[in-house]
């Protein structure tokens, strides 16, 4: 009796959910295609990432690149957040404040000492933040060929108690 009621409710929900998704303009694939970190383990990357985007890397890879000084770190957060604690040596290019015109010239001028095939690791505040993904896509469009996105961003860096660089004027 109760089992039958549960089945009725689940079946009704299944029919309604399927019909809504087939008819809705906001439909999503029934089976999600979520990529994994480039290292092949750990949590999956954000649903906002898609095929062709630069790979996401885990904190241990970023730390290794940092310690080897083999990558350039780009902080895509606002300057206030950048000043209050960032990965040492990072270049701050706030994605939200990119100029609408001549964007590439602006980005290239910020990265003038960096070659287009240098390994660049982009990050923002945390795993919920999409700024690094958007910034990496822009850099990809501008011809930068060796890009990665730090999964978990600055928060992951802090969680692992790694070295931080703070600027003057932090009002935290």
């Amino acid at each position: 009796m109760v089992g039958k009621q549960v089945l009725v409710i689940l079946l009704l929900s299944f029919v309604l959910g399927t019909a809504t998704n087939l008819l809705s303009p906001n439909s999503i694939p029934f089976i999600g295609q979520y990529r994994e970190l480039s290292s092949g383990d750990g949590p999956i990357v954000p649903p906002t990432a898609s095929e062709g985007d630069p790979p996401f890397i885990a904190i241990d890879v970023a730390e290794m690149e940092f310690s080897l000084k083999s990558a350039v770190f780009i902080d895509a957060r606002d300057s206030e957040e950048f000043i209050c604690g960032t990965i040492p040596g990072s270049i701050n290019i706030p994605f939200d404040y990119l100029p609408e015109e001549n964007t590439q010239q602006y980005v290239d001028s910020m990265l003038q000492s960096i070659s287009k095939d240098a390994h660049i690791i982009v990050f923002c505040s945390g795993e919920e933040c999409d700024l690094s993904l958007h910034m990496a896509r822009n850099l990809q469009d501008f011809g930068y060929t060796n890009l990665s996105i730090l999964f978990g961003g600055a928060r992951e860096w802090v969680n692992f108690e790694l070295e931080l660089e703070r600027g003057e004027g932090c009002e935290e």
Binding site: I9, L16, G17, S24, N26
Partner: protein, 147 residues
């Protein structure tokens, strides 16, 4: 104690409150499945290929259960599913709090990053669970479509 649990007015009141909460919780998630999928993803508890299915069907289970609970139709099935969902939500929230994941619970809309409201949601869910357990144990049949 039994008299309180079986009280018609208390049971009816809890049916309305829990039903409305579940309908409200389902509403925006139904129309924003992608955002809700991201909310589920934040918890890191569901395999990637099941995230979208959960995002598509869970809100409808919430909505149907909420409506049936208020109407008193397929009542026992609704109460059992609502209790199971409450337990599932509380396990997910507890896990998020334990792991220090900083997220909005995603209970009423798509989850996003906040200054950790998972604990607040967990406390609220304890209150709701008390009501849903009362509904589970109550023998009241007042104002129900089920005979």
């Amino acid at each position: 104690m039994r008299r309180i649990i079986d009280n018609d007015y208390l049971t009816f009141l809890f049916r309305i409150i829990v039903g409305v909460v579940f309908i409200y919780a389902a509403y925006s998630k139904i129309f924003e499945p992608a955002a809700f999928a991201k909310g589920i993803w934040f918890y890191h508890m569901v395999p990637g290929n099941l995230i979208n299915m959960l995002a598509l069907y869970l809100p409808w289970v919430e909505l149907v259960c909420g409506v049936f609970l208020i109407a008193g139709y397929q009542y026992r099935g609704s109460v059992i599913l609502i209790n199971l969902m409450m337990i599932m939500f509380m396990i997910a929230l507890s896990s998020a709090v334990y792991r220090g994941i900083s997220i909005d619970c995603g209970c009423f809309k798509a989850a996003k990053a906040t200054e950790s409201s998972a604990m607040e949601a967990l406390i609220r869910d304890v209150g709701l669970l008390i009501m849903t357990l009362q509904l589970y144990f109550s023998k009241s049949k007042k104002c129900m479509l089920d005979k």
